[in-house]
Symmetry: C2
Subunit: 266 residues, 2 copies
């Protein structure tokens, strides 16, 4: 109320150049899209290869120091991965590699991306085909979380990001072995942006006036839905499907369907 909407500053990394009318820099929109993405693609540069490497990971925005932060506030990104993976090793090496008596280094430079495809847009010309989509990109420095309480906080928000309230409705507390075998990366965000495409077909004038084309080419939108089906319990499950799971499925299916169909009409 009365507060300004925070936006990520435009840098050479995050500035959307093509179709910049579709660009969004608002923290809230970007953070919400990250949190609703089942997988995030995380890119980093290993020290021994010409290629950047992309790993799919699970993550959520959070603020351990200020847990009351909302999605419109500056936040960190917590990523779940594995001690043995190459990325963790690089992040740990970077972390330790601090100058004599100097400050801790800022971490491993990473780029994080996620996209939802909402519709296939079939235009008269192949070159005007498009997708409705929501995509997001973040840039920042990743470090390994060492603090046990912060690791626990990250595991809780990441688990709840998969299914709302799943953390406290799963077996608690975590065992020592579980905590030890789990590594969490914390990304301190430097910039980010999102890009949304909505609406219907956008045909060129000369194609609309091309009678032969209009009499032969079907034009329109094919909506793409993501949905969650009936829960399939394990053979040994003894519990009714809990309300948080039922509600999660209902909300997931409704929100996706409504967004996809409303986006076409924009």
């Amino acid at each position: 109320m009365g507060r300004h909407t925070l936006e990520y500053p435009k840098t050479k990394d995050n500035t959307v150049r093509r179709h910049n009318e579709r660009a969004i820099y608002a923290l809230e929109t970007i953070h919400r899209l990250i949190n609703s993405s089942q997988l995030l693609d995380v890119s980093f540069n290993p020290p021994d290869s010409p290629f950047p490497v992309i790993l799919p990971m699970i993550g959520q925005m959070g603020s351990f120091d200020r847990p009351s932060a909302d999605l419109g506030d500056p936040m960190d990104l917590y990523l779940h991965g594995y001690v043995s993976s190459r990325m963790m090793n690089v992040a740990r090496a970077t972390d330790k590699d601090k100058p004599e008596g100097g400050d801790k280094q800022q971490g491993l430079p990473v780029c994080i991306a996620a996209s939802h495809v909402d519709a296939l847009i079939l235009a008269t010309s192949a070159f005007n085909h498009s997708y409705n989509y929501r995509s997001v990109v973040l840039f920042g420095y990743a470090t390994l979380v060492e603090d046990e309480a912060e690791k626990m906080y990250a595991m809780e928000i990441i688990t709840n990001g998969v299914v709302h309230d799943r953390w406290k409705t799963s077996r608690q507390p975590p065992t020592k072995a579980e905590m030890q075998s789990t590594s969490i990366l914390k990304v301190s965000i430097t910039s980010g942006s999102a890009k949304f495409r909505d609406g219907g077909v956008s045909d060129d004038k000369h194609d609309l006036q091309n009678e032969e084309a209009q009499n032969s080419v079907w034009t329109g939108v094919l909506p793409v839905f993501s949905s969650i089906g009936e829960p399939l319990p394990t053979t040994y499950n003894k519990v009714e499907v809990p309300a948080n799971v039922t509600n999660f499925i209902k909300d997931y299916n409704n929100e996706n369907k409504e967004y996809v169909l409303s986006a076409v009409k924009k």
Copy 2:
């Protein structure tokens, strides 16, 4: 028939370390997954930033020199992008930056990734939660396609990758302006791998024997489906939904549903 299955050689870039029993190196599996991905995340290093950049792009595997190549053969990846984008500029610069009298440089090092989430796996412990998924990664060198015929070939396979047979059922031929404003990147692949997770919940023994946990935690699988809805024609469309679109929707929906449900049972 009688031919060996080709596999990408394991390098330090593409070797799957964590859960290596889930790794797949067969060209056919990897290429098929790329071709069925609506978006590919492409990562590269711009010359003026510490961060790798990820751009979502559309692409298909192909072989312009040997169009009869099948998915099990060595192939190139064709990516559709924009002249104005940062990546294209870098690829073009790299392309021109050849040594005096020497060979053309090999191009811009890129990593390409795509993932499908097929199910959410809810275990007794939060730490045994997982996804069923299919993910793929490719590494290679990207160059701009200059040859008009090769650009046309790439546009055709990329358009048909969105909806089977869409190229020839859209307005033909492309205009000069369309061809000029379109840039295609060709990635010469050096290595790749895929990783699949299927099956159901995998609980630890101590959780299965924990009566309190088994009496309170719901365990099971939530299948995630991707589906295409009823086609929504433009207001000016004059054509019946063509068979290739109808069949594409039916195949897309059936194949996705069947895969997701059969993967859970593995």
